[in-house]
Assembly symmetry: C2
Homo-oligomer: 435 residues x 2
């Protein structure tokens, strides 16, 4: 890449749907993805659902000459599924595991086992420090009755926190991945408004892809169109987001997505469409002022308040489930004690026959034990869920308080992003108790 | 606090040993701690092992006039146990849960249930943005044969990562807590060398406390001196660390610790000693250059390599344990199938008597099921441990590679901290494959 005032950066993102032996044509699709990547030579490649490390290593070998730098993020039981390849040297990698990610007993949904997280790599593009993030949020299985909504909101909350706090030294920030959020979903608004990230689809000068930028499309042969209902054509849940800094301004020159089929191949790369963005970086000599307004700040207060309500709903459900687990556990214990009491009768009154058929007796004992163990594990799990939700809610309350404080003393043209600095350089309210 | 070029900041840290109904004189000790804090009016109070939220709320009420701002960090089953009180407004809070934290079946050690983490709050001290961290690492139960060492090393690794990546916008950084690390332990060196944090005990101009700054002392009536063996007098594992920035220089004016007893009270505040540091902040008009040398960089390479070795040892053990769990599970399954085969004999050959006594038959069945469930859960758990250790090892490999790269092209007086910027402003090695 030429070292000049203007630099082009090509970013690629794809959810690979790479479940060995389960995803259709998995090996062939990885071969196709490898070919595409080595041909296109994007600067940064961000992949999701690369569930098997063997597949990652296979891609790594294939891309060793075009993308000499790579990182595979590991977490959870199966892994995070996230991988990154880069033409530029990766200096540092860091992973943040979301505190909530579905339920282990919902094994058919499988999200819990995936250990969802956000991964960050730091790389240098010329003189610029780029903080590049890849993530994959919890899937939405039923839009009407989405029991995972609080989990996804907390994930979006933690994503924006992680991104905001780890990117202050960055010249440019890129986030790509399968957010499992529609463009106007709460989590998406929370993420974009808080971080100031811009959506390459809405910002691009030139777009080539499916209508409305959808990335999960009904025309894809791996998709069951019924699952997309009520969105007949498809939904947009995969993104490439970006922002510059005082040192760099970024424009999205073009964005393209695949359209459900690949020329000369019988099937597409994945059940998701691939995104490819071309960004233009321009090094600035002067640091621009903050472009945040009072309106933006007020909008942020509303969004965080909405998120807090959603988390409270989740908290109510989690507490109810925990209570149910505890009550069922107590019933199991009572049943076990009752059985032991009945069993003790012949021992105490010698000569009396055991009133219970033996088989039933043992079966009931096993059942009681199973109930006790299951409810104990569920109780532990729900307690962790409650703590995580409470933690997120506490942080949101703090954020709303701080934002409102800033809003009250907001001068015109005050930059929003460094929340840590008060508007007038003084502790705004050193002695007022918080909520 | 007067707004001047020089500002004093008083920081307090204590592991409160606050396990309700289990820790001795818990309520009375909290009352004593509350009195101390409202009397002393430290700027920032960082507490660990406040296991019950009720105790936190009780302290919060008591300190509402002296410390109007507070945050309680929630995670894990019981909680993280960490709380912070501040005289200055808290603008933001963020929690990072360590990926490894002991084993759930080691319930008598209890660390797993505690959900160990590092908490960050951002507050303003005058015009300065302070990033304040509190943490509590996994305990060391046996120094000679410390099976938790890899977990603690990974925690120290993640702590330095979190701190380094989230503090680039900070004017000053403070970290306090019970690190469960001796001053020269690997995790401690890793943390201090990577982040540049300074130890208030070694840096202070004036010290008042126990010999060698020990914070877990044999004279404390809640301590069993045998547990400190071979360190007769005690050990130093609680710290207040700090660093400034280009905008602020920090000096530690004085550090004091309690000495195992409290005047007019029959027992001390906790089984740990409390630390109280007085820091002097001086706002700088010029940004000083980096004070890192080639020697520092080489030292860091050695320390990360040592940490990587330790993590590999842990990985080997975790893989062995996972293999054992799998093998035991397979044996349980084989036993169950064998039992079912024996039970099937009378069904297949009608008229033959059941060769097994029924009670033994059912008991064996229950045993097989218990083995299967236990080994399944252990297998899942060890897999998560393996993934987390592998993840940390990968990141360490990346870090060593990047550090060595910098070391090769290291010019004199090059600042170390912004690892993200290459020494010559160019991608140092854009096409060389990594290890």
């Amino acid at each position: 890449m030429a070292e000049s005032n203007t630099t082009r950066l090509r970013v690629f993102s794809l959810n690979c749907w790479g479940i060995r032996y389960l995803s259709k044509h998995c090996r062939q699709r990885y071969a196709m993805i490898g070919e595409l990547l080595s041909r296109e030579e994007h600067d940064i490649v961000l992949l999701q659902e690369v569930w098997s490390e063997k597949d990652f290593l296979c891609l790594k070998r294939k891309l060793s000459s075009t993308h000499p730098h790579s990182h595979y993020f590991k977490s959870g039981v199966i892994g995070s599924g996230m991988a990154t390849f880069s033409r530029h040297r990766i200096h540092d990698a860091f992973l943040y595991r979301y505190s909530l990610n579905g339920y282990p007993y919902m094994a058919h949904h499988g999200d819990w086992f995936g250990g969802k997280a956000v991964g960050m790599v730091i790389l240098n593009i010329g003189r610029l420090a780029a903080h590049v993030y890849v993530t994959h949020l919890h899937a939405e299985y039923c839009r009407e009755k989405d029991s995972y909504l609080p989990h996804r909101v907390v994930q979006a909350w933690e994503l924006q926190q992680f991104l905001r706090h780890t990117s202050s030294g960055a010249d440019l920030v890129i986030l790509a991945g399968d957010l499992n959020l529609h463009p106007q979903d709460l989590g998406n608004r929370l993420l974009r408004t808080y971080t100031g990230l811009r959506d390459s689809y809405t910002e691009t000068a030139k777009f080539d892809g499916c209508e409305d930028g959808i990335t999960l499309i009904a025309d894809n042969p791996f998709i069951n169109p019924k699952e997309l209902c009520p969105f007949e054509k498809g939904i947009r849940i995969d993104y490439i987001l970006y922002k510059g800094s005082g040192r760099v301004s970024i424009q999205c020159e073009s964005l393209s997505t695949t359209k459900g089929s690949v020329p000369d191949h019988p099937f597409p790369y994945s059940d998701h469409e691939a995104l490819s963005a071309e960004l233009q970086l321009q090094t600035l000599t002067q640091q621009p002022g903050g472009d945040e307004t009072r309106g933006k700040l007020a909008e942020l207060v509303d969004i965080v308040t909405e998120a807090r309500t959603e988390v409270k709903v989740g908290l109510y459900c989690a507490e109810k489930m925990r209570y149910t687990a505890a009550r069922t556990g107590v019933m199991g214990l009572a049943l076990l004690l009752l059985e032991l009491a009945i069993a003790a009768v012949p021992w105490l009154a010698l000569g009396t026959d055991q009133p219970f058929p033996r088989a039933t007796f043992y079966l009931l004992g096993v059942l009681c034990f199973a109930i006790l163990i299951t409810t104990f594990l569920l109780y532990i799990f729900y307690t962790m869920e409650v703590k995580a939700l409470q933690g997120a809610e506490d942080q949101m309350r703090l954020a709303v308080g701080s934002l409102q404080e800033r809003l009250r003393g907001f001068p015109l043209a005050q930059p929003l992003n460094p929340l840590c600095r008060p508007p007038d350089g003084q502790d705004p309210c050193p002695l007022e108790p918080e909520e």
